[in-house]
Every structure is written in structure tokens, then in C-alpha cells.
């Protein structure tokens, strides 16, 4: 069956998307597991020891992909929310809600691993460098989105309000990042020169990219699981659901 012959629009309806997602989840989970095992093996056993930071630096193999995922997922969340608002597409809005939790989790992981990296590398758990501070603010943006949606009872209002907030946040992110950089560059003490990642050996880069791919597969799988839950919750009156679940 050629790609052209699949009617993609039909999957915009929750009723059709639900079984499709259900079929995709097991294979995605499998791929995720494989990629994680490969990536972690490379990170912990194959990549060379950094001569400056010793073994502790290996946490960046989790920290960096997590940080990237936090940012990508925010953009994706805002895009889905925007589409759900502009086209009145419920499923897109449900995707945005589903993505928000995963994005927040990755951002949190990135903050924690960043702190754990900081301790052996620079002696303190937290430094207010531009990147970590921006990640913290991204965390606040996620928390705001999730809180707003959970405070609103009417699901469509929650969807649209979330869309406005996510899009406003998206536009603000470059401004916030710029202002934090400016703030940081002027306040930089002579003490700590931050953000010098170790120079990348090819195996290190490979490990990081594989783990990034693993995080992507994980995100897709977990978001699909979550969106199926959301569909079941919101469409509980719909007749197709009773058959699909049985």
C-alpha cells in the first residue's frame, strides 16, 4: 500500500488514532529498549575516560539528551497545542497535554543530572550559568502549563488556554534565554568558568546521539500511551470506545 493511498486525515479522529497508537507502542518500546542498552553500553564502557574530569563526566550522556528533549518537547507541545486551537482538533490538543508531562520529566532529569555533574566537576551542585538557569525557567514554563490545564474543568477551555500559554511561552523563550545570557555574562565571577564540555571523541558523540534517539523513541512511546489514556478519559461517552476497549 503506497503512502499516498493512506488517508492521513482519518487519523485525526481519536476513534481511528486510538488503535493505530495501540499497534505502534509495542514496537516502539522494543526499539527504545535496544537503543538504551546500546547507548548506555557505549557511554559507560566504550567511551574513553576524560582526562580532566575522570569517570564522573559520563553523566553528561544522560544530561545532554535530557536537556535537548526538554526543549524539543516544549516546541512540539506548543505546536500541537497551536494546531489543536487553530483547527479545533481535539486530538492535537490531547497530544499537547500528553507531551507536557514527558517534557517536564526530561527537564527535571536534566536539572538533577546537571547538578550531579556539577558537584564533581566544579565542586558545587548548582551554579547560575546561562544554560542551567534557562533550563530552570523552562521547568517553570512546563509547570505553569500543567497547572493551568489541571485547574480548568472544561476540557476544551483547558486545551485552548494551554495553547495560548504554550505559544506565549514559545515566543518568550528566545527573549528569556537572551536576557539570562546577558545577565550571566555580566555577573560572571572570575572563580568558575562554566560550560566547557569535554572535547568529544567520536565514541562519545555516538553514545550521546544513540541515547538521544533512545529518548526520542521513549518519548513517542510514552506519549502515545498517555494520549490513549487521555482519549479514554475524554471520549468515555463515545460509542466506539466501548467496542475498542472490550
Amino acid at each position: 500500500m503506497s503512502v499516498r493511498s493512506i488517508n492521513w486525515y482519518k487519523y485525526a479522529a481519536p476513534a481511528n488514532f486510538y488503535p493505530l497508537a495501540g499497534k505502534m507502542i509495542p514496537s516502539l518500546t522494543g526499539i527504545t529498549a535496544v537503543l538504551f542498552i546500546m547507548g548506555l553500553y557505549l557511554s559507560f564502557f566504550v567511551a574513553p575516560t576524560d582526562f580532566q574530569q575522570g569517570e564522573a563526566y559520563r553523566i553528561i550522556f544522560i544530561h545532554v539528551p535530557a536537556a535537548w528533549m526538554g526543549m524539543f518537547l516544549y516546541v512540539l507541545m506548543a505546536v500541537y497545542a497551536g494546531l489543536g486551537w487553530a483547527f479545533n482538533a481535539r486530538l492535537a490538543s490531547m497530544m499537547a497535554t500528553a507531551i507536557s508531562t514527558t517534557g517536564a520529566v526530561f527537564t527535571f532529569i536534566s536539572l538533577v543530572t546537571g547538578a550531579l555533574w556539577g558537584r564533581p566537576a566544579w565542586g558545587v551542585y548548582w551554579v547560575w550559568d546561562a544554560r542551567m538557569t534557562s533550563t530552570l525557567i523552562l521547568m517553570f514554563l512546563y509547570v505553569g502549563f500543567i497547572s493551568l490545564q489541571s485547574s480548568i474543568d472544561d476540557p476544551r477551555r483547558a486545551d485552548r488556554a494551554g495553547a495560548v500559554l504554550a505559544l506565549v511561552g514559545l515566543i518568550n523563550i528566545p527573549i528569556i534565554y537572551f536576557s539570562v545570557q546577558w545577565w550571566n555574562s555580566l555577573h560572571q565571577g572570575a572563580t568558575i568558568r562554566i560550560a566547557n564540555k569535554p572535547t568529544m571523541a567520536p565514541t562519545m558523540l555516538a553514545a550521546m546521539l544513540i541515547l538521544l534517539a533512545a529518548c526520542w523513541m521513549y518519548s513517542i512511546a510514552v506519549v502515545l500511551v498517555r494520549v490513549r489514556c487521555i482519549i479514554r478519559e475524554r471520549e468515555r461517552e463515545a460509542p466506539w470506545l466501548a467496542e475498542a476497549v472490550a
Binding site: D153, D154, P155, R236, E237
Partner: protein, 205 residues
């Protein structure tokens, strides 16, 4: 000329109505009936343009109200369950400011005259929080009279009015319709208006 085509409304999980169609011409009246929770207020809000329908559209002079925007807003006047009365302002100030906001500034005398018509003269300088529920409803009516809207959209306008005020409202609505205006009224009570064309829309399930 107001038209509704295949209107559908969903509130939360519940389907309130679907495939609703009606048309309203100059001088016409539609009475919307139905028990509490049947969607009367939702329908009226959709007609105002405050809410979007789940399906279907509303047309004013053959054009979708979404595309008309302010042109449509200028042609309608809406009285909701709430009176839209600011407690800290006096009746006179409330009326002057709401008409000023709607784009028809009235002079002191004209505002006074309208308040007299709804039987609020003597109370015009009191802060609105001191007025009774019936008096505040009459203030909402005054706002209606002061507007130059063609289409009146009224939600339970007779609620909390005493008999004299109910009589007054009937009179105002009839006058409005006779002068070529239109009205859509959601009500529990019988209106008993002697007007030319009157339709009834029943939203009971």
C-alpha cells in the same frame, strides 16, 4: 436577517442540541423554551458570538457572524442572567458608561429620561449595590432601551421583575418589534406579546 444553520452545541460531555435551524426577519420574535439545563443560555451566547457552536453557523445578512466581527456586535444587544451592573457606580453612571462604551454616548438628560421610563428616577444617584434585584434588572432593561441595536437577545429578562416591570418590558419589546427590530427571548414565563410573527423554539430533550 438572522439565520441559524445546523447549529449544534456540546457543553462538557453533554450534547445539548444539534441540527438546529431557524430564521428571523425584521419585526420577528423567537421564544426559546426548555427546562433548565436544556441549552437556552448556550444558544443565546452562540447567537451573540460569545461562544462558538460545535457545528453549524449563524448568519447575519447572509454573512457568517465570525467574519463580520464588530459590525455584528454593533447590531445586537444582549441581556444575560447577570445584570452587568457595577456596584460602585450609580444607576446614572452605569447607564452613561455602558452606552458610552457601546459607542452611543448619551447626554445627562437623555440618560435621565431613559431611567424615568424604566421607573428608576429617584434612584439614579444611589450606588447600584443599594438597589434591589428588581431595580438592577430594570437598569439592565434601561441599557437595552438606550442601545440602537436591531437584534435583542434576552435571557430570562423577566426574572426578578414585579408585575409593573413585566408589563413595561412587554411594552418595550413590542415597541421594538413594531419599529422593525428583532428579538430572541429565552424564557420560562409566557410572554403573551401581540406581535406579527412569533416563533417558538423548544429545546426540551
Amino acid at each position: 436577517m438572522l439565520e441559524a444553520l445546523k447549529l449544534g452545541c456540546v457543553r462538557g460531555d453533554r450534547r445539548l442540541f444539534e441540527n438546529l435551524n431557524f430564521a428571523l426577519e425584521s419585526g420577528g420574535l423567537i421564544e426559546v423554551r426548555g427546562p433548565n439545563g436544556s441549552g437556552k443560555t448556550s444558544l443565546l451566547r452562540i447567537i451573540c458570538g460569545l461562544a462558538a457552536p460545535a457545528e453549524g453557523e449563524i448568519r447575519w445578512q447572509e454573512k457568517n457572524i465570525r467574519s463580520l466581527g464588530e459590525e455584528y456586535s454593533g447590531a445586537i444587544a444582549y441581556v444575560a442572567h447577570q445584570n452587568a451592573v457595577k456596584d460602585e457606580l450609580s444607576a446614572l453612571e452605569n447607564l452613561r458608561i455602558s452606552t458610552g462604551l457601546a459607542g452611543n454616548s448619551l447626554s445627562q438628560e437623555e440618560t435621565q429620561a431613559i431611567l424615568t421610563r424604566v421607573d428608576l428616577s429617584g434612584y439614579q444617584h444611589l450606588p447600584a449595590r443599594l438597589l434591589s434585584a428588581g431595580q438592577r434588572r430594570r437598569l439592565a432593561l434601561a441599557r437595552l432601551l438606550a442601545s440602537r441595536a436591531t437584534l435583542w437577545i434576552l435571557d430570562e429578562v423577566l426574572a426578578s421583575l414585579d408585575d409593573a416591570a413585566v408589563e413595561l418590558s412587554r411594552e418595550f419589546i413590542c415597541d421594538h418589534l413594531n419599529q422593525g427590530g428583532m428579538a430572541i427571548i429565552a424564557t420560562h414565563q409566557e410572554l403573551n406579546l401581540h406581535v406579527g410573527s412569533s416563533q417558538r423554539l423548544d429545546l426540551s430533550p
